[in-house]
């Protein structure tokens, strides 16, 4: 609240008149002030100015809009395609209620995530990926925050869990020690070998199961590993909004986390 009215008429504080105009004041005070300002041209001029502001703002809301810039709309389309693929594609987690018997989407639904995410933020991923080997070779220790691992229970259809199935193209799992995840980053690099998770959809399922937004996650590399002897799949991610850091998630085929750490400079 601002100045009190001095005398029966102004001078009036602009803030007081704005409060009156916005209905901030209690009804009795408001009624009294309206009676006064309505007979005061100077006060009315201020109120007209405030009303003019409201009118301009209202016009802004009703005005024709500019189209969403192409680079952003393309990114949005890619993310929604990814979501549609997850929802309607075969065996993925977020299925709509009546999806049984739904035909798989045609191939126009691109294999998602890595490509469209790589487009995001103009090469930030590429820049990071390029620096990974260097970082690892230099044995740069990146400190990682262990996140609580909560599984949402909706993410893992049993049919999608195929323990022991390393998928096509898998190589011998990389042996990794829990205390040596920084060095493992350099060995995984930008490879995309999903191992027991089979494909990007399988990885996305595990990301969600570990409270990571699969729609925005930027995956740098994926590789089957054994972490201190336990088989799993290691994924390197760029944590959103944390430049200079990497997130290492190691999960079992059922998405149970073995390691989940943010390694940062």
């Amino acid at each position: 609240m601002t100045d009190e009215v001095r005398g029966g008429r102004g001078p009036w504080s602009v803030d007081l008149l704005a409060d009156l105009h916005a209905g901030v004041l209690d009804p009795a005070q408001s009624q009294r002030l309206w009676a006064q300002v309505n007979t005061d041209p100077q006060a009315r001029a201020v109120l007209d100015a405030l009303e003019s502001v409201r009118t301009g703002l209202g016009d802004l809301g009703a005005a024709p809009v500019e189209p969403m810039p192409a680079q952003f709309s393309a990114r949005l389309d890619a993310a929604l395609e990814a979501e549609a693929r997850r929802a309607f594609g075969g065996g993925v987690a977020v299925a709509p209620p009546q999806n049984a018997g739904q035909q798989p989407l045609p191939q126009t639904f691109a294999p998602v995530v890595s490509l469209d995410q790589a487009r995001r933020r103009k090469g930030r991923v590429a820049a990071w990926a390029g620096g990974l080997v260097t970082a690892a070779a230099a044995a740069v220790a990146l400190a990682f925050v262990v996140l609580p691992n909560t599984t949402d229970g909706t993410a893992v259809p049993p049919s999608a869990m195929l323990p022991g199935d390393q998928g096509p193209g898998s190589e011998r799992p990389l042996a990794v020690g829990r205390g040596d995840l920084g060095a493992a980053i350099g060995k995984v690099g930008t490879d995309k070998d999903y191992g027991a998770l089979r494909d990007q959809a399988g990885l996305d399922r595990c990301l969600r199961a570990n409270d990571i937004d699969a729609t925005t996650a930027q995956v740098v590399g994926v590789k089957p590993v054994t972490l201190d002897g336990t088989p799993g799949t290691l994924a390197i991610l760029l944590p959103p909004g944390e430049l200079g850091k990497l997130q290492v998630l190691v999960v079992k085929p059922d998405c149970a986390p073995i390691a989940n750490e943010v390694i940062g400079r």
């Binding site: 405030l50 502001v53 969403m68 952003f72 979501e83 549609a84 925005t216």
Partner: protein, 208 residues
């Protein structure tokens, strides 16, 4: 179904029933309007794009719970606004961007000399002068048309706080937009302060 000829509600129902293309049509119809909402609220295009993506993904997943009695646009709008508000809350500490061209109280080009587009740009620019605390309630109430009660609920603050922040924000905008020549004076605004051009007949709208 022929998506282009369907109503929004039909498309939502088709999406919930498993039509993989129905939601894309919803997005195509509403994307630009929602983009404007996100950009106004967040100001930063990159952040607005991220918020809009989050919102549409959220809507995609929640479409099954959409109630047909409400408008799809209203439902979508609310989801977009909430996604933006989440981001505003996360960045509360960020300083506001000052106006580069005009200082507070400095008159701008007379309204009647502007095209509609110029007026829109001036108002958008003036909004950048406000802190998030003032700008967001004003956007929700005055631009997007939410009631004070709805705005208070969305922001998690009292209705009186919404009104007060709107009042402060409008007073500042009146100064920035040049409607008040002597904005810092504590009262008697000179008669010449408001030139009368473009000023509508006053309606005593005390909040909504």
């Amino acid at each position: 179904m022929t998506a282009a000829a369907s109503s929004d509600a039909d498309l939502i129902a088709a999406h919930a029933a498993g039509d993989p293309r129905a939601f894309a049509e919803i997005v195509r119809r509403h994307r630009d309007r929602m983009w404007a909402v996100a950009l106004r609220t967040l100001r930063d295009p990159e952040e607005a794009a991220d918020a809009l993506q989050e919102a549409f993904i959220s809507a995609f997943r929640a479409a099954g719970s959409f109630r047909a009695e409400s408008q799809v646009t209203t439902w979508l709008h609310r989801i977009v606004v909430n996604a933006c508000l989440d981001r505003v809350r996360r960045r509360q500490a960020r300083p506001t961007v000052p106006l580069p061209e005009t200082g507070p109280g400095e008159p701008v080009t007379p309204r009647d000399a502007m095209s509609e587009r110029e007026t829109k740009l001036v108002v958008q620019t003036a909004l950048r002068e406000l802190s998030d605390d003032q700008r967001v309630p004003i956007l929700l109430v005055d631009v997007e048309g939410y009631s004070v009660a709805e705005t208070a609920k969305m922001l998690g603050i009292a209705e009186g706080t919404v009104k007060s922040r709107c009042a402060r924000g409008r007073a500042k905008l009146a100064k920035v937009l040049g409607h008040l020549r002597n904005p810092d004076a504590d009262a008697n605004v000179p008669g010449s302060a408001v030139d009368g051009r473009g000023v509508p007949t006053r309606r005593q709208r005390e909040g909504r």
